[in-house]
């Protein structure tokens, strides 16, 4: 099947949601609910179909073909020639992008469908769909861009949509509206701190590399992989290579005339290519095949021992020069290609020093800085310590928003960015150490806090933070595949859990209305804004739930699927992905002996135990036991719009994990997929994967982790099962309904600390907010009001002005100006008084004067004549 042209469709993936958003934004008010909903859903589904076509090409193609740089969509998007800044609007389709495309559009489409049911009756229905579509557009820009600036455009765009959607219900009256608006503001402000990091990182990247492109068009990200799938031979790993070959030109012991020098001439490359064209090497022949790279890693030559043995035509249409990047100058490469170039220069080489005006830094140090700043941005967007505090509050948004943005897609943008920058990370082990520690600490901390929460969505929010911590920790370990794998599986089962919780909230609220005889008015607003209703019944509070398993069977079953997947019970999606992260931590710790491996493994195991515990606590509180409120007792099952997406997601949260089954574990060869299908798929985006032996299935660890999860579930069951879920469960004041852990003296402190969210908000309040407010107060009251206003304005400016004005008014205006004007008047009066005597009023006088005047004039006229006469 010819799929080569499919990636050219990539602008449409972004354009279609943009059109949907445009229609709903400008004509939404005139459209009926159903029409604007369908516009949104259609846009998302079309985007999904196109993404599927694109991914089918990427998955089907091999090597260089699996990475596509379509021609720049808008060349010269930002161009400042004087500093050599030229950023095209260019897309890049490669495996990482593909995964994100499917996750974003797939989960996104399901959530659009779900929203049709969930938002039913909301007065701002069309605006909601416009925002969802616009979010898809920005998220897709984020994942498809080929440079850091496009990524940043998407990054800020999704941040904006997050702000708008968290505060979607800002117009609910009173405290609730304020709470929603404040949550949105908190998300915006905390993310600005992170964006400072991203910006610094992007600036540093531009300063260092002179470009922001991930890869130049035509550049091959993973030279070794591309060569391998073209059956040219194995690529030696960089580390081993530089040890064996030293710094000099890599001269391969030549058999025959094909010798690879450090400086590859074109003829050599051609020779290699010539051989390549006849060469088809079965995997077994790789041993005989030698290919190596020179010290820059830009060029590779193949030793064609087996050239003659090769049979058949591999038919790869890609020329060798296009694979090995030898057609590029180092500085023409994208940032990642350049990184490789810099890092392979010897330590202390002048070329490695990056000048920052007054000082210089080694390239390795710059890389560390770039990654640490980047991690600050990731901590903001992906809710890691220290900037995770906005995500629990973000649950103020409607539940589909929480599912789509604050669980499945937007918050994973940070992980995506880190995996996209995997080449940087490969060369910066110190930065990876920091990232791994941050990620694993976050995972445990958030998992622990989730144990003590009452709000059904807050539990899931902390769970999301915890799982994001898993992903970030995986990136820190260099386990990029595990991170992306967990990202994909988590997107599915956490979206499922959030949508399930939305269904529960929806049901409880309906039940509440029903039970209170308000009449069941489906056109009433009944979303996350319950508290705005006439009573303070909170349908999100798990203390008001219980026994919903009988009332909402489909929601219950699908929720169980999500719970099992998240807890990592065997063969559910979370089992495979979480286990892979743990296995990588094990490998880094025990096999490679790195400290972070042990730390991460320990923290993540504890976090995994917490995960199983809090999820089972939630299931018990929500679905089991007896209903604890009228709302829960009367809750109806949700409509098909909402249940069908739940069923689809439940199906995938069981099956999606099988796409990356380890070599020797259970389900080896399941679905006819290769082992580590996902890893192979990602290889052309993640160079360091090639040559790395995939980890074997770690039975000990898998059994241990599963046993831990079961133990946690059993413990949770012993505490929360049935009617034990709450103490004083009949107390009308829900604040008196106590958690069993709190009721038990031994665990009271532990639970209280979790319930108080470890006082993070309070600590930030004391450390940042209060000093900030005090500083602001100082500036406002002392500097601005007392100094500037009272002293400077009133004393210096006003008095000075008054003095000057007085000076001008009295001596100058009154004295000089008025004096001059009055003096002129007086003078004229004086002279005219003297001259009025001339006017006698007698005609005769005038006639005489006239006569004299005439005589004088005549004399004057005649004078020249008289003189002339006299002169003769």
């Amino acid at each position: 099947m010819h799929t080569d042209s499919y990636p050219q469709l990539i602008p449409l993936v972004i354009l279609i949601p943009a059109i949907g958003a445009f229609i709903n934004l400008f004509w939404g008010k005139r459209l009926t609910e159903r029409v604007s909903g369908w516009i949104g859903i259609t846009a998302a589904l079309l985007s999904f179909v196109i993404s599927w076509l694109i991914v089918s090409h990427v998955h089907g193609a091999h090597g260089a073909g699996s990475v596509v740089n379509p021609p720049a969509f808008f060349d010269g998007w930002i161009r400042i020639e004087s500093i050599g800044l030229d950023i095209p609007w260019q897309f890049r389709v490669d495996p990482i992008t593909s995964v994100m495309l499917l996750v974003v559009t797939g989960v996104g489409s399901l959530i659009h469908i779900y929203s049709m049911g969930y938002m039913h009756g909301d007065p701002k229905f069309s605006r909601f769909f416009a925002f969802l579509n616009m979010f898809l557009m920005f998220m897709l820009i984020l994942v498809t861009g080929n440079n850091f600036l496009m990524m940043f455009v998407g990054w800020e765009g999704v941040g904006l949509m997050s702000y708008l959607l968290i505060g979607f219900n800002w117009d609910k009256g009173g405290a609730l509206g304020r709470k929603n608006a404040n949550a949105a503001r908190k998300a915006m402000i905390v993310n600005r701190v992170g964006d400072f990091g991203i910006l610094m990182s992007v600036f540093l990247i531009f300063w260092t590399f002179g470009t922001l492109n991930f890869y130049s068009p035509g550049e091959t990200a993973n030279v070794c992989y591309a060569l391998e799938v073209n059956h040219l031979g194995e690529c030696e790993k960089k580390g081993e290579h530089s040890e064996t070959e030293g710094e000099g030109a890599a001269v391969v012991p030549a058999e025959g005339e094909t010798t690879a020098e450090g400086e590859h001439s074109e003829t050599e490359a051609t020779t290699a290519e010539g051989e390549h064209s006849e060469t088809t090497a079965a995997e077994g022949e790789h041993g005989e095949t030698e290919a190596t790279t020179d010290e820059h890693g830009e060029t590779t030559t193949a030793e064609g021992e087996h050239g003659e043995e090769a049979e058949g035509e591999h038919g790869a249409p890609v020329a060798l020069e296009d694979i090995d990047n030898s057609q590029f100058e180092p500085k023409q490469l994208g940032v990642f290609g350049q990184t490789k170039y810099y890092m392979e220069l010897p330590e202390g080489d002048a070329g490695r020093m990056i000048s920052f005006g007054p000082f210089e830094l080694d390239f390795g140090q710059v890389l560390f800085l770039i990654l640490i700043f980047m991690m600050l941005g990731v901590a903001g967007k992906s809710a890691q310590i220290p900037l995770f505090i906005w995500l629990p509050d973000a649950m103020a948004g409607p539940t589909p928003v929480s599912a789509l943005m604050h669980a499945a897609t937007m918050v994973t943008a940070g992980v995506f960015l880190l995996v996209r920058s995997n080449v940087f990370l490969d060369y910066a082990p110190e930065a990876r150490f920091v990232i791994a520690i941050i990620g694993s600490t976050t995972a445990l901390m958030a998992g622990y806090i989730a144990i003590g929460q009452w709000d059904i969505k807050r539990v899931l929010a902390y769970s999301t933070i915890s799982q994001l911590g898993f992903m970030v920790a995986a990136v820190g370990l260099g386990a990029y595949v595990a991170a992306i794998f967990h990202l994909a599986t988590h997107a599915v089962f956490k979206a499922l859990l959030f949508l399930g919780s939305g269904s529960v909230i929806h049901g409880v609220e309906h039940g509440h209305h029903h039970g209170h005889g308000h009449g069941h008015d489906s056109h009433d607003d009944h979303h996350d804004d319950h508290a705005a209703h006439h009573d303070d019944f909170d349908p999100q509070d798990m203390r008001n739930m219980g026994g919903l398993g009988n009332r909402m069977p489909l929601t219950y079953i699908t929720y169980l699927f999500g719970t099992f997947a998240l807890a990592g019970l065997p063969f559910f999606a979370g089992f495979w992905s979480k286990d892979e992260i743990l296995a990588d931590a094990w490998h880094v710790g025990f096999d490679e002996g790195h400290l972070e491996g042990y730390i991460v493994l320990g923290l993540l195991l504890a976090a995994a135990a917490c995960t199983a515990f809090y999820m089972w606590r939630q299931v018990q509180m929500v679905f089991h036991g007896q209903p604890r409120s009228e709302g829960a007792a009367n809750a109806p099952e949700s409509s098909a719009w909402m249940v069908i997406p739940l069923l689809i997601l439940a199906f995938f949260s069981f099956t999606i994990g099988f796409m990356n089954v380890p070599t020797n574990g259970p389900f080896h060869g399941f679905f006819g997929w290769k082992d580590y299908e996902f890893k192979h798929f990602l290889e052309s985006s993640v160079p360091s994967l090639t040559g790395k032996t995939p980890l074997e299935f770690n039975w000990l660890l898998a059994i241990g982790a599963v046993a831990l999860a079961f133990a946690a579930i059993a413990f949770a069951h012993s505490r929360y099962a049935g009617d034990k879920a709450l103490e004083n469960r009949e107390d009308p004041n829900i604040a008196n309904r106590l958690d069993p852990l709190y009721a038990n003296r031994a665990t009271r402190q532990i639970w209280s600390l979790a319930n108080a969210r470890m006082y993070w908000d309070e600590i930030y309040g004391a450390l940042i907010e209060q000093p900030y407010n005090r500083l602001a107060d100082f500036f406002a009251n002392v500097v601005d009001w007392r100094f500037l206003h009272d002293y400077f304005h009133d004393t210096v400016l006003k008095k000075g002005y008054d003095t000057l004005a007085g000076l001008l008014a009295r001596p100058f205006d009154l004295g000089i100006i008025d004096g001059a004007v009055n003096g002129v008047g007086w003078l004229i009066g004086f002279f005219s008084g003297r001259m009025r005597g001339l006017q006698t009023g007698y005609v005769r006088t005038y006639a005489v004067v006239l006569l004299f005047g005439v005589v004088v004039v005549i004399v004057l006229m005649l004078l020249p004549l008289i003189q002339a006469r006299a002169g003769q």
Partner: protein, 103 residues
Amino acid sequence: MPPAVPTEFFVMLSMILFALGAMGVLLRKNAILVFMSVELMLNSANLALAAFARQWNEMDGHIFVFFVMTVAAAEVAIGLALIVAIFRHKQSINIDDLHQLEG
């Protein structure tokens, strides 16, 4: 044909008449006499104009004389009306009684 009377004579006569008119304007108190003196000055000017026109054989002077006579006729109409109005107002045509414009 040489002129029968030399132009100088006319000019001399014109001067005398003008001087007489001017004296009349300055020395007479009766408004009508002042008025007549003004007419005398105008006509002396007319005489000079006609004399020079004859001297230079040009028609300009004659034409101008007609203009002056027309204006003088209009002036007489207005001037006599003014004098009648003044007399009605003041019961006098003594111009020395008329000094309201005194400064």
